[in-house]
Amino acid sequence: MALTKEEVLHVANLARLSLDPQQVDRFTRQLNDILAYVEKLQEVDTAGVQPMAHVVPLYNVFREDEVTPGLSREDSLANAPVQEEGTFVVPRVI
């Protein structure tokens, strides 16, 4: 299941990355090496095995619905690269 440069570019776009041509070449080669290696998992018989997403069998952790102080608007905005009038500012969308 070899990964092509076009697929690498597609994945980069999904991940919101803009790779330069050298990075595309390098990642195409390295991702193929890694994918070839992990291919060995197909040797393991997993028929009927329930996938384990989490090791702790915790279900429905409930707590009282109490109002507690959260982050203030000021604290929430303190690390924003650009802010104005108490809001995050982003470049033009349209």
Binding site: L14, A15, Q30, V56, R63
Partner: protein, 487 residues
């Protein structure tokens, strides 16, 4: 005297502080001047917080003066720079968080502050904890105190090097695939990864959320028990923190290990294991046998699939977790004309190569058409690995293995070959996939003068027996007393 204060363990220092034979300010001063003298060479710290450390030391002094007796009152610690510290820059060793100042503390930091600890600063690491050498830091590599041309291990390389070089009394790290245990082994210190859920992850910057766990790196086993006691326990802010009551970890120390069954998984002693490492670990097993433990060979046949399973799961989770770095709410933002371009340029310029690689691979394996073949398959193999370990623990109290296949390698040695680097995690990954506790403790030195580690793993919430065996081994040996040859 000042140098001696730096060399002490938590267990050695805390009583002196409690009896007011030394003051927190004196200890902090000794540590800060040692950091000034030695850290330019080691680079264990990304940020040294002199001002904050002084303030905490004075506060600890006041609390001691009022007759309080917290176990960590005045004890100076280093924190891996992946743990949020209120008001103190937290970078994750990444350019993208270079100027990030958290508005809150991680739960572990809250608990340490309450116990009276002094935070000296934030320790170096692989960017976003992705790596096994601390070479992937945007703030330069940390050098191994035992040999400056070698890596300290990773990703908690700064936390391990700081403990080994006496640049702190103990530290906290995080372990997703071995990131506490492997650097502990390479730097000749103790490193404990607790059971998944034992310690709250609130305020730990997420890498792979189903694997990440915070734990201590210390100069001796007793210190690991002490620190775990402070940081363990359920937390309303982390719904995956375990409700199990926290036992008294010190109670298990000093119990003898006669008749206790120690499993030795044969797959951990095969091809690729360095002869010196094997020699030291086999000798350690003999020591445990000499203390009355029964060694029994066990088999964990899926071990050869651990690296593949781990990297699929970790990268998938990472690609999702790191989607939050978008240049909007915090962190670095690259200038751009529109929103899409701003996202892409911010992320590509802000992340280092290894992080980009993992986001790419994780995005690919989770993308339409590939999820079944990769993520689902890996999650199934993970379930089988846990089942095998559960079976092993039906007959064994702990498992004993090497921590890493070789001693620390040279800086730059693995070059641009990610797979070779990934394979060096083979012995530590299983504990993360299964969510079980594991400890690394010193068990020898190579001919080149590099430390070698012994790993002990236990069943879920089996920290008491892991600490019990580790402590018995430490009492019977001198390896933990060895210090690196520093100026």
């Amino acid at each position: 005297m000042a140098e001696d204060l730096c060399r002490l363990s938590v267990s050695g220092l805390a009583p002196l502080l409690a009896r007011r034979e030394v003051s927190p300010v004196e200890v902090t001063e000794a540590m800060l001047s040692r950091i000034t003298a030695l850290d330019p060479d080691i680079n264990a710290y990304i940020t040294v917080d002199e001002e904050g450390a002084w303030a905490q030391a004075r506060e600890a002094e006041a609390r001691l003066g009022r007759g309080e007796n917290g176990v960590l009152l005045g004890v100076p610690l280093a924190l891996k720079d992946v743990l949020a510290t209120k008001g103190l820059r937290t970078t994750c060793a990444s350019r993208i968080l270079e100027n990030f100042v958290p508005p809150y503390d991680a739960t572990v930091c809250v608990r340490l502050r309450k116990a009276g600890a002094v935070f000296l600063g934030k320790a170096n690491m692989d960017e976003f904890a992705m790596g096994s050498s601390t070479e992937n830091s945007a703030f330069g590599v940390t050098r191994n105190p035992w040999r400056r041309d070698c890596i300290p291990g990773g990703s908690s390389g700064g936390s391990a090097a700081a403990v080994a070089a006496d640049l702190c009394t103990a530290s906290l790290g995080s372990d997703t695939g071995g990131s506490i245990r492997q650097p502990a082994a390479h730097c000749g210190v103790v490193g404990l990864k607790p059971t998944y859920g034992r310690v709250s992850r609130f305020g730990l910057v997420a890498y792979a959320s189903s694997l990440d766990q915070i734990g201590p790196l210390t100069k001796e086993v007793r210190d690991a028990a002490l620190l775990l006691q402070v940081i363990a326990g359920p937390d309303a802010k982390d719904s995956t923190s375990a409700p199990e009551p926290v036992p008294d970890y010190l109670e298990s120390l000093g119990k003898d290990i006669k008749g206790l069954r120690i499993g030795v998984p044969r797959e951990f002693f095969g091809e690729g294991l360095d002869q010196e490492v094997e020699g030291a670990v086999r000798k350690a097993l003999k020591t445990l046998e000499g203390l009355g433990a029964d060694l029994m060979e066990v088999s964990l046949p899926l071990t050869e699939y651990a690296v593949a399973t781990y990297y699929i799961i970790a990268m998938a989770e990472a690609s999702s977790n790191l989607a939050r770095y978008d240049g909007v709410k915090y962190g670095f933002r690259a200038p751009a004309g529109n929103l899409q371009e701003m996202y892409a340029r911010t992320r590509t310029e802000g992340f280092g190569t290894e992080v980009l690689r993992r986001i790419m691979l994780g995005t690919y394996t989770l993308s339409a058409g590939y999820y079944e073949a990769y993520y689902r398959k890996a999650s199934q193999v993970r379930a089988l690995m846990r089942r095998d370990l559960d079976r092993a623990f039906e007959t064994c109290t702990v498992l004993a293995t090497p921590v890493a296949p070789t001693p620390a390698f040279c800086i730059g040695e693995k070059g641009d070959d990610p797979l070779t680097m990934y394979l060096s995690d083979i012995f530590t990954i299983s504990a993360n996939l299964a969510g079980i506790p594991g400890i690394s403790l010193p068990c020898g030195l190579s001919a080149a003068g590099l430390p070698i580690g012994l790993q002990l793993m236990g069943p879920p919430f089996g920290e008491p027996q892991v600490l019990q065996v580790a402590f018995a081994f430490e009492q019977a040996t001198e390896f933990h007393r060895a210090k690196p040859p520093l100026a």
